[in-house]
């Protein structure tokens, strides 16, 4: 992590739906190459914020820059510099692995030659050659999520947003998945991740915890545990969310 370089800068982000305040004055920075955990209970406002950071929705007010680009006026540049995957939607089930990679590479503006070369590299790296032409719907969820992550960073984005990437995945596969995240971060890709697994919060360099639209805590897992007098991140989360 490069503490000197801010890659996500959020200043007083507010998002209202009518009278409902989904995001209430969020302010935080994420640094280049950091693994940043974005936690909160269902309905705390995480997805609303992520959609704004990805350039998919406008904030009501606030100053937000993603890799130096403004979320109001430079949304296309933002989209070219980020990758995204979620538990609910990641790959097209009626395409095979190769076709999914080609599709996403094209969407992110990569050249056909670059896509072809990198596809072979990726399939070899993930040891997927035997199932590269299998439809995604016939591949176990754990495998799918690993492919989805690789596809999300295929165009070497500066930041990757992962929205509950390991939901429903077994412990062994989750650990393998996190190893991919670490390797991406070691290459300088910033990782912005949400999860309901509190042990995964321990894998992050810093975590924020949202409740009712506000960020109630933001620090390293070790310091949060100290601050809240808790042995685990699970306890920290419960203390904040039940307030």
């Amino acid at each position: 992590m490069n503490q000197s370089k801010v890659i996500i800068s959020v200043n007083n982000l507010v998002k209202k739906y009518g009278d409902f305040i989904a995001n209430d004055r969020l302010t935080f920075n994420v640094y280049e190459g950091e693994i940043f955990g974005f936690l909160g209970a269902n309905g705390a406002g995480k997805t609303t914020a992520i959609r704004i950071l990805c350039g998919l929705s406008y904030p009501t007010s606030g100053k937000i820059e993603i890799s130096g680009f403004d979320v109001y006026t430079q949304r296309e540049q933002i989209k070219r510099n980020i990758g995204y995957m979620s538990q609910k939607f990641s790959l097209y089930e009626d395409l095979n692995i190769r076709e999914n990679i080609r599709f996403y590479g094209g969407i992110y503006g990569m050249s056909t030659a670059a896509i072809r070369r990198k596809t072979d590299e990726l399939i070899e790296e993930l040891e997927l050659s035997s199932i590269a032409r299998t439809l995604v719907r016939d591949i176990p969820l754990g495998w799918r999520q690993k492919v989805a992550f690789s596809v999300a960073i295929f165009h070497e984005p500066k930041i990757v947003f992962l929205d509950e990437p390991t939901g429903g995945v077994d412990p062994l596969t989750r650990r393998q998945f996190w190893e991919h995240i670490y390797r991406a971060a070691a290459r300088g890709i910033t990782v912005f991740v949400t999860t309901h697994y509190m042990d995964e919060a321990e894998y992050c360099e810093r975590v924020s915890i949202m409740a009712d639209g506000r960020i109630e805590a933001l620090d390293t897992p070790a310091r949060l545990k100290q601050e809240f007098g808790a042995a685990t991140m699970d306890e920290v989360f419960l203390k904040i969310s039940r307030k």
């Binding site: 909160g40 209970a41 269902n42 309905g43 538990q87 176990p140 969820l141 754990g142 509950e164 939901g167 429903g168 995945v169 077994d170 412990p171 062994l172 596969t173 650990r175 996190w178 190893e179 670490y182 390797r183 070691a186 309901h196 697994y197 509190m198 042990d199 321990e202 894998y203 897992p221 699970d234 989360f237 419960l238 969310s241 039940r242």
Partner: protein, 309 residues
């Protein structure tokens, strides 16, 4: 009395063998957990217990009734909450509940006490379409629908996937209350902390049950030495550790590496000096108390190795 008795069942989908010669007995009034990786066959097993699938071979009995011959009786006293959202998205919260109640020949009022703790949280949203509920609310409504006829057996397929830690805790408190009322509960989960809250658990992999016991006994049987290694170059150290045959497995875990060694002789001192041979120094190595996740990983890996051997 046995609530569920599974006798050597097999089930295939085309060439895929989803369940392989599996037997299992679940006592009445037990809170029983089924865990296993994706594709292990958990949902197939649940669907056979709830009479929605027929085994190719073998038989399943629920409170003595055969799931093929007596499926009607079984359905009357079984509540099933499938993994995917099972409600009608274009009906409101109340309409969904009335629908399920009617199907089972009952009313919302009849067993209101049973669903009250969960349903009271939903009542303010009674007129909302199910499709517009948050994930946590959908899960609560699905549970109410599965409970509406006061079933003797409640089968829950990954009820807490995608649910936050607070709601998960509340959900398990509800299960505990239901169990105390005499219900038998069969639940699958990818969360290892939840597996530890069950009375008995079965670990499933590739269509077979590889372990079945009380969680405490499974933990007590785990004897593999575990260590936590902290040092400067995590990825480099990890790679080196994995190249050593004495290391059973090594995984990144937060800011450290968790490793399992193949015998107690390979202790912290041994690891330290072995890594020093490769020029890796300045490490902190601590023993780790195993948790349920370690048991799961070991069970899955051992089973895989036996199959290869």
């Amino acid at each position: 009395m046995e609530c569920i008795e599974i006798r050597s069942i097999n089930k295939s989908y085309g060439a895929t063998r989803a369940i392989r010669d599996t037997s299992l007995t679940i006592p009445e009034n037990c809170l029983f957990g089924l865990i296993g990786p994706d594709g292990a066959g958990k949902t197939t097993l649940f669907r056979m217990i709830t009479t929605l699938l027929i085994p190719d071979q073998g038989a399943v009995f629920v409170f003595g009734y055969d799931t093929v011959k007596h499926y009607r009786q079984i359905r009357l006293f079984t509540g099933y909450m499938p993994g995917r959202f099972s409600l009608y998205p274009d009906l409101t919260v109340t309409e969904n509940l009335i629908f399920y109640a009617t199907i089972f020949g009952t009313t919302i009022k009849e067993h209101y006490q049973l669903i009250r703790p969960v349903y009271s949280l939903l009542e303010p949203y009674g007129d909302r379409l199910a499709m517009n509920l948050s994930g946590g609310m959908k899960q609560k409504l699905a549970l109410c629908c599965a409970l509406i006829h006061n079933p003797r057996l409640l089968v829950l397929d990954e009820p807490t996937t995608g649910v936050d830690a607070v709601s998960r805790k509340e959900f398990w408190e509800t299960l505990q209350v239901l169990k105390e009322s005499g219900m038998t509960i069969l639940v699958s989960t990818p969360y290892m902390d939840e597996a530890a809250r069950c009375e008995r658990i079965a670990l499933m992999q590739e269509g077979s049950i590889i372990v079945e016991d009380r969680p405490q006994s499974i933990l007590a049987d785990f004897t593999t030495p575990l260590f936590e290694v902290q040092g400067p170059d995590r990825l480099g150290t990890l790679q080196r550790l994995r190249s050593l045959p004495e290391i059973k497995r090594a995984y990144l875990f937060g800011h450290s590496i968790h490793i399992a060694t193949s015998s107690p002789g390979y202790d912290a001192g041994w690891i330290n000096s072995k890594l020093a041979e490769f020029g890796i120094t300045g490490l902190e190595i601590q023993p780790v108390t195993p948790d349920f996740e370690d048991c799961f990983i070991e069970g899955v890996e051992m089973n895989r190795k036996e199959k290869v051997a």
